[in-house]
């Protein structure tokens, strides 16, 4: 029996790709560099960053919506990806600057002198002048790009292996992922961890080798890169969950014990999805931080990862496009409301400043979504297209609810 290509079986993929392409082209045509300039460069950057967040949300949906692991540490992988690419960006740029200033000297600098000067420049803020061991590969873009996926991948692999083999699951696993993230954040906060402590890495928006291009141009390039990454990994994720593999991981989500009894290596499946999601998240981070320009350990405090879960939940779990919708809608709304541009509401006797009240509204709306719309925004689409709602974890102890 011949089966249709999976894309044709999932029209939603084509719709998502079409919308993404239209969005990217439209933004490009309205950008300052390639279009009429209706969208300022800072906004192009915000949109590009939002696409990266959407990609992280897709990975989160793989892990949570399809595999059933509520990982509260996804943003750790995101930030690690950013740190890995940031190392090269910062090193290469500082090297260019330092080499130019050393060239003023009558005597040409030795390689050692150059490296010392670079290290001094980068680590002066944390009172050190040696290049830490973790910066060994910082001079090479290729090696750092490999590290972007390798470091979070290995971390996820080791952590996942340890956690899954001892059958830590459910709430325990969530807490453990949160602890891992916190441990990593606290470690990075130290001045002697080799990542400049709470100063983080900065100046990442300047791309070495592309000094001739202005930020307006670069922002559009990064928008395209982010859109391409989102498209590629969205299709990959959709393909992964559509076949037999997808059925197995959904089955693990719904009843892990039963799947194990059926003879599937549950730990292996979990490990593959968890590690893959970590790598995708890291790539999203590697694209995000050159647009943000700065990364510091506060980015991977547990709260950030919980927000990612919030986006996916509001967008709709177990629907990949739901994750994208959630991330885009909530993150853009958040930056609009907290940016101070939203109009205040004047009540008799009290003025509601959105800057102060947005968090309250977000928190409460999140409670409401969990209570009344567990399928999130994607649930509306399901209803519109008459789809059967995805089966969710069967409440196994229904009898308790007297």
């Amino acid at each position: 029996m011949t089966r249709q290509p999976f894309i044709l079986r999932n029209p939603s993929i084509l719709i998502v790709l079409a919308v993404l392409a239209a969005f990217t082209v439209a933004v490009t045509l309205m950008s300052a560099a390639y279009g009429n300039g209706a969208i300022p460069t800072s906004m192009v950057k915000v949109l590009g960053k939002t696409l990266c967040l959407a990609l992280a949300a897709v990975a989160m949906d793989l892990v949570w919506g399809y595999l059933g692991i509520l990982s509260l540490g996804q943003m750790a992988f995101f930030a690690l990806g950013g740190y890995m690419v940031g190392q090269w960006l910062m090193y290469a740029r500082t090297e260019t600057i330092v080499a130019a200033s050393l060239a003023q000297n009558p005597i040409p600098a030795t390689p050692l002198e150059l490296q010392e000067a670079v290290a001094n420049q980068i680590f002066g803020v944390v009172g050190s002048s040696d290049l830490p061991l973790v910066w060994t590969f910082a001079h090479s873009l290729t090696l750092q790009l490999i590290l972007v996926v390798a470091v979070p991948g290995i971390l996820a692999l080791v952590f996942g292996w340890l956690a899954f083999r001892s059958r830590v699951n459910g709430v325990y696993l969530s807490i453990l992922t949160q602890a891992m993230t916190l441990a990593l954040a606290l470690w990075l906060f130290q001045n002697d961890s080799g990542f400049r402590g709470n100063n983080g890495l900065s100046g990442l928006q300047n791309i070495p080798g592309l000094e001739g291009r202005d930020q307006a141009t670069l922002s559009v390039w990064f928008l395209w890169a982010s859109a391409a990454a989102l498209a590629v990994f969205y299709v990959l994720a959709a393909w992964l969950v559509s076949g037999k593999f997808g059925s197995v991981i959904r089955a693990i989500r719904d009843d892990e014990t039963r799947v194990r009894f059926l003879g599937y290596p549950v730990e292996g499946f979990k490990l593959v999805v968890f590690t893959l999601a970590a790598m995708i998240t890291a790539i999203a981070g590697a694209l995000y931080y050159p647009q943000a320009g700065i990364i510091n350990p506060a980015e991977l405090m547990p709260i950030a990862s919980i927000y990612l879960a919030v986006w996916v939940a509001i967008g709709g779990r177990g629907r990949l496009y739901g994750a994208i919708i959630g991330a885009v809608v909530v993150s853009l709304l958040s930056s609009w409301f907290t940016g101070g541009r939203a109009p205040d509401i004047r009540l008799p006797g009290y003025v509601v400043h959105w800057v102060d009240w947005w968090q309250v509204a977000l928190g409460l709306s999140f409670v409401l979504v969990t209570l009344f719309a567990p399928k999130g925004i994607a649930g509306i689409f399901d209803r519109l297209s008459g789809l059967r709602a995805p089966r969710r974890a069967a409440p196994r102890k229904q009898e308790v609810k007297a």
């Binding site: 509520l70 000297n105 009558p106 005597i107 040409p108 600098a109 030795t110 050692l112 002198e113 952590f159 340890l162 956690a163 083999r165 001892s166 059958r167 830590v168 459910g170 709430v171 325990y172 969530s174 807490i175 453990l176 949160q178 602890a179 891992m180 916190l182 441990a183 990593l184 606290l186 470690w187 906060f189 130290q190 002697d192 547990p302 919980i306 879960a309 919030v310 939940a313 102060d356 009240w357 968090q359 309250v360 509204a361 977000l362 928190g363 409460l364 709306s365 999140f366 409670v367 969990t370 209570l371 567990p374 974890a393 409440p395 196994r396 102890k397 229904q398 009898e399 308790v400 007297a402």
Partner: protein
């Protein structure tokens, strides 16, 4: 400089002398003193260190006026008139030393005894004080000597009559030993004193040992003959690097200064001729070897000063030996001192261990208070309440509000504790009724929904109380610390928190084991289905436990607020540790929570003690340890048994 230091050393003696002047304002004449002065006028004017001692003893023996004269003499406040009278000068006024009569209009010649003589006088003064019939003055004299003793004091102490007061006798004995260690010329006596005091951990003994064990580092080709060598250093091993060795040799003149790369570069830059330095093209000078060649060429031409090359430095290193030598020349003394210091260190480590244990205990009680509510709700309902930290915060803010209304701090604390319980109990019940019961058996959704509540509550607190920290002041009787000795001490608040934790442990055990509600809670925890068919309403029980857990969080908030600043992020700082406590301890069992809190408290303090300056690293390692711990005991230290454990 030396004079300045000498005067510093004299300062306590001066104080002593001034206090003597102030104390006995006796203006009666003293004929004995008058006679002594008249007989020895020459020697008083030009005293000699060697011969002055009998005279001073004679003056001191004449009574308080004699002592007053001596102290004025030592502090250079004694003047001599032309007609041979001695005047004690105090600013503009002067009194006759022998008669005590005030003298006006005299222009005395001030006597300036040298430091040797002054030392003898001081000794005599202390001897006088030490044998004073007044115990308070003897104690003051001892304190003065203990603060800053000299060798003269040592002789005086030894010559003084036996002390009757046992407490003072012990103190005097101790001071005498410390002085013996520092000033005695007899090796055997010093060693004996050191050995007697060995194992003492007090600061003054350690301070007496430190100068004996102070070393200086020397470089020499031969072992120095007359130096007291602590050890020979091997270059590159341990704490003595090659750079340090070369720097030492350079400073001792055993080696020409080695050229730093910056100096070399500057020297080369100053000698560029036609794009070449010493025959080497400038373009090639980005290679260290080429730079060395260029410099050697310049050196040979005599344009730059010669500098030690790597080879020379290496040869010098080979030929030189390095030693740490004691400033104290006597080897027997330093050996004894080292052994004593070792013993002191061992005991000190043990005491620090005890201190650490106290710290860990108080930290564990905080975690226990913060986690106990979380543990019971998790045990009964299998849900993690992410807003638990905000309940802690709510308790702290309740106490803050109470404090703004009730000025008496003790009273406000007494009001705040139950009120915090009531407020957070209410908030917990509300949260249960509105949110959690509708999400029964969906633990991950509950986690996220309560997280929504958490961020909303946090922002609400920010909106109401502002972002700056609010102080919560403890009553006066909770301030300060309980101190056992130089090392071991614990602040009273932490003791109070420990007591509070014990109280709640007792209360909790009572409710769980002795009341109807406790029985029902245990039944629902073990098997909800069976419990409900026995007529227990699980919904009501869940609500009550949730309220109880939240209430205890509120109490914990008051306790935490007493030593930490109350901010809207207060709860967040403790929530992860609370989770860890629950996860490590095992759920649904109070002893598990206790064990978890104990383990985490001890662990974080122990890890912190390895590197006290870096608490971030301590937390990182603690979390890593917990992640690994979960590998071996996935269900915690005290796992839940029975049917509920299978869920």
């Amino acid at each position: 400089m030396m004079a300045f230091r000498a005067s510093l050393r004299l300062f306590p003696a001066l104080l002593l002398a001034l206090s003597l002047l102030a104390l006995p304002q006796i203006s009666a004449a003293n004929p004995a003193l008058e006679a002594v002065i008249a007989d020895n006028l020459d020697q008083i004017e030009k005293p000699s260190r060697r011969t002055v001692e009998p005279l001073i003893a004679e003056i001191a023996a004449t009574g308080p006026e004699g002592l007053a004269l001596l102290s004025a003499w030592a502090s250079r406040n004694l003047g001599m008139t032309d007609d041979g009278r001695l005047l004690i000068v105090d600013g503009d006024s002067a009194t006759d030393a022998a008669t005590g009569a005030a003298v006006t209009g005299a222009d005395p010649k001030m006597l300036r005894p040298n430091s040797g003589v002054r030392g003898v006088i001081e000794g005599a003064l202390v001897a006088g004080e030490i044998s004073s019939p007044d115990p308070a003055r003897r104690a003051a004299a001892l304190s003065s000597i203990a603060r800053d003793g000299t060798s003269a004091h040592l002789d005086a102490l030894r010559a003084a009559p036996a002390e009757e007061d046992p407490a003072l006798a012990a103190r005097r004995d101790r001071v005498e030993k410390l002085l013996t260690i520092r000033f005695d010329t007899d090796t055997a006596a010093r060693v004996a004193a050191i050995e007697e005091m060995a194992g003492d951990v007090s600061l003054d003994f350690r301070a007496a040992l430190n100068p004996l064990l102070a070393t200086s580092r020397i470089a020499a080709t031969e072992e120095p003959a007359n130096a007291n060598i602590a050890r020979e250093l091997s270059v590159g091993g341990g704490d003595f690097s090659e750079e340090a060795a070369i720097a030492l040799m350079t400073s001792e003149g055993l080696l020409q200064p080695k050229l730093s790369s910056a100096d070399q570069r500057n020297a080369l830059a100053a000698n560029i001729v036609d794009g070449h330095v010493g025959g080497v093209p400038v373009g090639q000078l980005n290679d260290p070897a080429a730079r060395d060649r260029a410099y050697e060429a310049l050196e040979a031409a005599g344009t730059v000063p010669p500098a030690a090359t790597e080879a020379e430095a290496g040869a010098a290193l080979e030929a030189t030996r390095f030693f740490d030598t004691y400033a104290e020349p006597d080897k027997a003394v330093t050996d004894a001192a080292r052994a004593a210091q070792m013993r002191a260190e061992v005991r000190l480590t043990a005491m620090k261990g005890v201190d650490l244990g106290l710290d860990a205990l108080s930290l564990a009680s905080i975690y226990f208070l913060a986690a106990i509510g979380l543990a019971i709700t998790f045990g009964v309902m299998r849900v993690i309440n992410m807003a638990h930290g905000e309940f802690i915060m709510m308790g702290a803010y309740t106490a803050y509000v109470v404090q703004t209304m009730i000025a008496n701090r003790t009273l406000s604390l007494i009001v705040a504790l139950p009120l915090a319980f009531v407020v957070t109990f209410g908030a917990g019940v509300l949260l249960y009724r509105l949110v959690i019961r509708h999400l029964a058996n969906r633990p991950l959704e509950t986690l996220l929904a309560t997280f929504g509540v958490s961020i909303a509550l946090q922002q609400l607190a920010k909106n109401i109380f502002g972002t700056q920290a609010r102080p919560l002041t403890a009553p006066a009787w909770l301030e300060g610390a309980i101190t056992f000795n130089d090392v071991i001490s614990i602040s009273s608040i932490r003791v109070a928190i420990f007591v509070l934790a014990l109280l709640f442990l007792g209360l909790f055990l009572f409710i769980m084991k002795r009341t109807r509600v406790g029985l029902e809670v245990r039944a629902v925890t073990q098997n909800p289905g069976m419990a409900s068919s026995m007529g227990i309403n699980p919904d009501r029980i869940a609500m009550l436990t949730f309220g109880l857990g939240s209430g205890i969080a509120g109490i914990a908030g008051v306790a935490i607020g007493l030593f930490a600043q109350v901010t809207s992020e207060l709860g967040q700082q403790y929530i992860v540790q609370s989770f860890m406590t629950v996860v490590v301890g095992g759920v649904g069992n109070i002893w598990g929570t206790l064990a978890g809190a104990g383990l985490i408290g001890v662990l974080s303090k122990v890890i912190e003690s390895f590197n006290p300056s870096n608490t971030l690293a301590a937390q990182t390692f603690m979390i890593l340890f917990i992640v690994i711990f979960i590998q071996f005991r996935p269900r915690g230290i005290i796992p839940q048994r029975g049917r509920a454990a299978e869920a």
